[in-house]
Symmetry: C2
Subunit: 498 residues, 2 copies
């Protein structure tokens, strides 16, 4: 550094007493109202503990922080898939392509890696250049082919919008759909809080519908109808319904019949369906059926009834066996939308210019992995299956641990990356929480973090039925030590407040 002789007091001191233009009482009230627990107080505290430990602090009662609060596979144990990263390395430094022989000999790059990088570069020119605001054409073509193969129905690249992760896609869509304070969107409870937070920012109405915990967190269309009727009676203009399949935080995976019942409702009530399908490959039970496929089937089977259904489906590179959340890649597909509305979506996304191009390329690799017979296929398949099997193993290990814990009930793992157990806490614990002006599940999760370094998210961060308590934990962290930490903590906590 060239200078350090500055005598100016630090910024924080300088301004501590000065009156400011912006304060908590005059900023955008909708930002203030938004809640997002996944990265809230607990996550901040966990990060502080991590920093302390990394600085050699020995005062904490644990020697590592386990971030089980967020689906961040590569922060924990998950290795990236080699084929993906080999191609990305070539896209970042195209001069590597000038010596394919050395790439092969010293680094094991196969010909299909090199070919793929060249094919992508032929379209995007440079990953440092802005692309088309909807995403590079070659990548949208690959996504369309992927959807066609997955569903058995046509997909049109013009209906695809690449995004900086699914979150940014959800934000775009809710920004288009919500026209003011009376606009409402049906959101499952519990839900991933992106939905409620974004609706808060837009000053629109979240119309909650409860999932059925005792039916493996299933979606009950009668519960939806009830919420809808209530919201309508209260003057809310309900425009859309969000379905997260497989569920977050619940892990539930919807059947063909469940999906049909949502589409029936959408057709009857004219609701735009937002299908959050980012966990589509994280399935332990049954098979994933996309909303798009089901819609097209129904449109074939029953003429006219479903013609007016507007559906948007989201996917992402962050989850599944890809787990590349730091790259912020994803897409959404519109079906049945008015072309004029689609044009407005294009304008809206163009204001932010384009999604990250390297993330777009990763979307292409995800939807178009090495085919059987191609040189990289065997390694790809081995890595992919290894990740899938590891996730399943950990999910069930955690599930079994929960079964051993007093007052904890958990649905069998079906999909996604999370378990969402119910906890029944002693009255004294609930009183102690109240004395600290905290929700009881938050109180429990904070105590868990302080005692064990394991960071989970209280159920109140996702919404839960009144008088129930939960927490969400990922099953991404390796080993079983951290699971045992939870078991031990829980038994001590229950004893303390008995």
């Amino acid at each position: 550094m060239t200078q350090t002789t500055v005598t100016l007091p630090s910024r924080r001191t300088l301004t501590a007493s000065a009156p400011r233009r912006l304060n908590l009482d005059n900023i955008n009230p909708h930002v203030k109202a938004a809640k997002y627990a996944v990265r809230g107080e607990l996550a901040v505290k966990a990060e502080e503990y991590r920093v302390k430990l990394s600085q050699g602090d020995k005062s904490l009662p644990f020697d590592s922080v386990i971030f089980a609060n967020i689906g961040n596979p590569q922060q924990l144990d998950q290795k990236p898939i080699s084929f993906f990263r080999q191609v990305l390395s070539l896209l970042e430094n195209t001069t590597l392509l000038e010596n394919p022989e050395a790439l092969r000999t010293h680094f094991g790059y196969q010909q299909d890696v090199i070919d793929r990088a060249k094919a992508l570069l032929a379209d995007v020119q440079s990953v440092g250049a802005y692309s088309h605001s909807q995403g590079a054409p070659i990548i949208r073509d690959s996504v369309a082919k992927f959807i066609e193969e997955r569903d058995g129905f046509p997909a049109n690249p013009q209906d695809l919008y690449l995004t900086a992760g699914a979150s940014s896609g959800v934000s775009t869509l809710l920004n288009i759909i919500c026209d003011g304070p009376s606009a409402g969107v049906l959101v499952p409870i519990p839900q991933y809080p992106l939905y409620t937070a974004t609706l808060s920012l837009l000053n629109a109405q979240c119309v909650p519908y409860n999932l059925e915990e005792d039916k493996a967190w299933g979606t009950d269309v009668n519960a939806i109808r009830e919420s809808l009727a209530k919201a309508k009676a209260a003057g809310t203009d309900v425009r859309s319904i969000v379905v997260i399949n497989p569920g977050n935080p619940t892990g539930a995976s919807l059947s063909a019949e469940d999906i049909k019942s949502v589409l029936d409702l959408a057709a009857e009530e004219k609701l735009v369906v937002i299908a959050d399908e980012v966990y589509q490959t994280n399935i332990f039970t049954g098979e994933f059926i996309s909303f798009k496929k089901r819609l097209r089937q129904l449109q074939q089977e029953v003429p006219s009834k479903y013609d007016n259904v507007e559906l948007v489906s989201l996917h992402s590179v962050s989850k599944g066996m890809v787990g590349e959340c730091g790259h912020r890649g994803g897409y959404f597909e519109l079906a049945g939308f008015d072309p004029e509305v689609a044009a407005q979506i294009y304008k809206y996304v163009s204001i932010m210019l384009c999604p990250p191009v390297i993330g777009q390329c990763l979307v292409e690799l995800m939807v178009n992995p090495p085919k059987e017979g191609s040189p990289s296929h065997e390694l790809y398949q081995k890595e992919y299956n290894g990740i899938r099997d590891g996730l399943r193993k950990r999910a069930f290990a955690l599930y079994e641990a929960f079964q051993r814990m007093e007052g904890v009930e958990c649905q069998e793992p079906q999909g996604a990356m999370y378990l969402f157990p119910t906890i029944t806490l002693p009255a004294k614990a609930i009183e102690a929480a109240k004395a600290e002006n905290r929700a009881a599940d938050e109180f429990y999760c904070l105590a868990l973090l302080d005692a064990t370094g394991v960071c989970v998210v209280p159920g109140s961060g996702f919404g839960q039925k009144e008088n129930t308590l939960h927490f969400r934990t990922t099953f991404l962290a390796p080993g079983t030590d951290w699971v045992e930490r939870i078991v031990k903590f829980h038994s001590e906590f229950m004893a303390k407040y008995k």
Copy 2:
């Protein structure tokens, strides 16, 4: 593809006549109202021409499309800087690090490339993992050091927020600042339309202040005071002022005195200053002075007067000699903000989880390039200077061409990546535009595109004084052929409508 026997009519046909839930009249009206010409009709048409040409179409009167509408250096001629891309390739495929000898021998990777990749990975773990929502700590540390060296005043990593390009930072800040329809933000005219578009989305007031074309597009604080008084009288709660320095689309570079006059106004009128400094290294005349430096100088010189100034400064990897817009990297620095407001900004950005991690790493490389004496320094400096000199050369070549054109006046290039000439069109051309229900400058730019394949943006897309016409062109495209295309078109256009 596994199936193609689908008999379903195409989506577009299927739904063309069906009544839809969402249409142009009931979506978010603020999205509908937003204007963003940089990627509007002209850009869409230019892309269509590009596709036609790439498919071998010979019917067009030109053989290439020149995208001079957007500052997208690597789409045109600019090569990425080797050091940056070498490091990024290692971050994407960390197994390359296992054979440093082969990296050196076959690909010319120097030791500092390898060391930097390792240092970044020690903090971010994987570029596929979510980072801290404000950005990875190691990267914010580097940015703080860069600001300290640039300005000679301290910077605090806690005040830094990494972003997905500066655009996303601007969006965040305006979302915090604007609390409803009466909130106003002073915006220079002409301006980069991100500002007006985002204010439209927020249903807040754009309070325009004119830049002085005849004083090299300077910022006149009296013009600002006038606009401010008018807006206040109309009941607008003016909260903030945007300054783009160096200017976009004008290229103007502000003097220390100009900056002081804006800060004086901000102190007196309690305005949050948004300093868009993404072109800080694109300077042809004089030197870049940051708002932060000037503020800290004034705070030292004049006790108390400037204590309450809230400033946020933005920077990006997209422009300068870096030109990596496709990577979507940037940051903003808060100075003088209320910590409670900063906490709300953190919550807001955390809803989108984190900016792209590879883009964050590129920010680190931009602010911390190879130092003198390090193995990669010489090549870095050579590439950097080559880009800088090329930009200057092209800027002046274009400027000289404009001087040869009848009815075109242009300020001498000072900075940024754009020229923004005035055009004086014959009355008949203005009538012909009116007949097509178009602004005259848009009419001119469309005619230019149709005749030459050169895509520029009409001045109306940025705002301009009444009864003046302009267009914005980048000077990024290589060669002089395209400049001559403009000269020839212009003379024919003027003759046609004389």
